[in-house]
Amino acid sequence: MPALAEVVAEIADEMRARPDRGEVATYIPELARADPQAFGIAVIDAQGQLAAAGDSETPFSVQSITKVFTLTLALGKIGDRLWRRVGREPSGNPFNSIVQLELEKGVPRNPFINAGAIAVTDAILSGHAPREALGEILRFLQFLAEDPSIAIDHAVAASEKRTGFRNVALANFMKSYGVLDNPAEFTLGVYFHHCAVAMSCRQLAMAGRFLAHNGRNPTTGLAVISPERARRINAIMLTCGHYDGSGEFAYRVGLPGKSGVGGGILAIAPGTASIAVWSPGLDTAGNSHLGRLALERLTKRMGWSIFGE
């Protein structure tokens, strides 16, 4: 097997040179400021070794990738009762679709489309003030990444709040069906802010380690969640993590993964590595174009696809 650090460096070189970079998201105005030339990758293996290249230390807006971590928090808080208010089937629709929500009586298809993530956020918020729930989410990310410097990008949060009309519609629609316990504006406030967390590829790969190692922090050996729950979150990442591009991601990359419109992807090679890539240009399904391509190269060369070499 080739040396991981060399493979990662070669992938970063190739991605830096490619002319096809996708389109930077513009529906959240602050995200449109991202540099389409940026590319970063960080891989942390089971021994804790970091292989990183490109803009791996540059913080970017993780956006929907936080949905993996809010799902982890909500399942830890209320267990399988969460599945009464959100499903776990792929949607086959765009991340912000309202059509499916109406057909299914306000119960979102899975926790990674926007409606599902808002319902998950509502579960975390219950019993607490919005800013305290937000503090819990941020502390959880800092704990997983072992980095207290992780923070929310205020400008992105404000931009999302100012322009998140569809999310407001989704939340109010779910509220009308009784899926949300808290006032929709409180749940949305927490949702907009946790999507606006900024992290680097290295911080994100660190935060994802427990999913690659049966729910445990591989450094301390202590459990973050049970092995069963880690396995199930990985399963949902594989089937739903890239919205209506999830099938293509599984076909080409072959790993559980979660994308964000900021251009990041967190991918998990179970038992082997936690991987974060970032390139702001998106494909037509709203997933990082070069990020997906880089992961395809990585899994092919390292033989990491969960479906075989």
Binding site: G76, K77, A129, E132, R139, F140, A151, L222, A223
Partner: protein, 112 residues
Amino acid sequence: MKKIEAIIKPFKLDEVKEALQDVGLQGITVIEAKGFGRQKGHTELYRGAEYVVDFLPKVKLEIVLSDALVEGAVEAIRKSAQTGRIGDGKIFVSTIEEAIRIRTGETGTDAI
């Protein structure tokens, strides 16, 4: 009889609940709480900004149980709630003088 009060991180609740069921405990009382200890609860939400959170969400568990079950229950909570970081919480054990089941009037360990 003893009472166990445990303050834990909310995301550990389901795991702790399962661990307590595994050692034979059926009923627990769960209270949403907030607080801070040595970690001071001080979380800076935005980098370099003044906007901070001074309390963190916590969950308080209360369990009244027979003396024989205390050791197993404490160990179950400690193991399942531990992340190794500041803020994992505390477990308190105290003595209960009497318990009465309101519906039947049973007392002592029969009532728990």
